[in-house]
């Protein structure tokens, strides 16, 4: 694949530069990531603090950035691809992507609803987490995947320093990529922090009888797409189904499910959108054979499968969005 070496080098350089400049992989300032929590009444600290790692908030920006890269096809044949990507480096924290992503109100709102739904679910079972707002740092998951371990180490160190400063005894995360970083990577890179991390669905599953079901009209039959990391690396499989049952929805299984789940293609979307689309295409067709309502529990899966909603007449929902429906009784657009 012509240009791949330069493309990866530029992506690494962009990430490194953004992290050094702003502590954020997209190069944005902190205030963009906290708007979702407005009006939720979350305190700035607590025994348990929420870590979103900005994953759901990043959805419109990641989608816009990959769309811009995809449009530059055939990517490998463009003389000066490095220029386009280094332009990404300069604009990452600036107007162009932000302006373009602003038009993507639907995915922005979906991410917000997923986070608000997660918090509503936690409150329903008697847990009101603290939220560190601008100090809710990115976990460094992509940096680690790409081999930039020392930058991931820096991010994790910063995150744990903040947890300790806030007096948190536990961290509740909202996505599997972050949980894997805290649970498995952090002990290797920053040592044992003594602050355990849990996915909010693990917590909800333990108290699922206290969850409020969704309204009868919204009790759909969803085919489950288990996120790879959640199922294979973290073993969170039954918990999702248990929470789903308590919410009154029906969860059915596709051919490849639970520990044998198939990837959504999301992790390579940033650099190889064509191959990523090949992978997500295989998975979405498999899921669509079972149901037009698809349930995910990961922002990366949501983003990558959401793209097929209009094209294939599907409805892809994150578990956080179903929890949002349970709390608010609204049918998302």
């Amino acid at each position: 694949m012509k240009g791949s070496r330069r493309l990866i080098a530029q992506a690494l350089d962009t990430l490194k530069g953004n992290m050094e400049r702003t502590g954020d992989p997209m190069g944005f300032k902190n205030d963009y990531w906290t708007a979702w929590a407005e009006g939720m009444g979350l305190a700035r600290n607590g025994d348990a603090v929420l870590m979103t790692s900005r994953m759901y908030q990043m959805l419109p920006y990641v989608m816009k950035m990959t769309e811009m890269i995809s449009k530059a096809k055939p990517i490998q044949e463009i003389e000066g691809m490095g220029k386009i990507l280094s332009m990404g480096h300069r604009i990452a924290g600036e107007a162009l992507i932000r302006w373009k992503a602003k038009g993507d109100t639907e995915i922005t709102e979906r991410g917000v609803r997923a986070l608000r739904g997660a918090v509503s679910g936690l409150k329903a079972v008697g847990v009101t987490p603290g939220y560190l707002f601008e100090e809710d740092h990115y976990s460094g998951a992509l940096l680690y995947d790409l081999g930039l371990s020392r930058y991931a180490q820096h991010q994790l160190t910063k995150a744990y320093e903040t947890f300790k400063k806030s007096g948190a005894k536990e961290v509740i995360v909202t996505d599997p990529h972050t949980l894997l970083m805290l649970r498995e990577v952090a002990p290797q890179l920053v040592g044992d922090s003594g602050i355990p991390a849990r996915h909010y669905l693990e917590l909800l599953a333990e108290r699922k009888d206290r969850l409020k079901p969704v309204a009868p009209a919204l009790r759909r039959k969803y085919v489950m797409h288990d996120p790879c990391m959640m199922a294979r690396s973290l073993g969170i499989v039954d918990q999702v189904r248990g929470v789903g049952a308590s919410l009154g929805i029906t969860v059915i299984e596709p051919e490849n499910t639970k520990q044998n789940t198939m990837c959504c293609g999301g992790p390579i979307e940033y650099a190889f959108p064509e191959l990523s689309r090949g992978v997500s295409g295989l998975r979405i067709r498999e899921l669509a054979k079972i149901s037009t309502d698809i349930l995910v529990a990961c922002p990366v899966c949501l983003m990558n499968l959401y793209r097929y909603e209009k094209e294939m007449g599907l409805r892809v929902r994150d578990m956080g969005e179903v929890l949002y429906e349970a709390a608010n009784g609204e049918t998302p657009a």
Binding site: K2, G147, Q259, L275
Partner: protein, 110 residues
Amino acid sequence: MKTAEETRDMLLSELAKCRACRFCLDTCPTYQASAGLETLSSCGRLQTLRYLLMGMLRLDDSLAYILYSCLDCKRCEIMCKSKGQGLEITSLIQMGRALLSDRLLKGEEG
């Protein structure tokens, strides 16, 4: 953290354990999406990384594509374990990337 030399030696020793039995091929989503291109499979990536670290291959465009397109989904590891080998394939690829990313960031050739 280990030095680059220690990581390389450890990786080569782990990579040598892959028997190239190829049972993992069909489990790999990128192998499936590329209609069976073996270099875009878990096994293909391990062999590529091995020869790269041994200095028999250069980190050119094709090899960057092969090594950085792993989804890190770990589907191959379930199969590897079931066949009695149990290699942590995606961790090996991640460690390989750590060595290569340093080189790419420094703009080193090859």
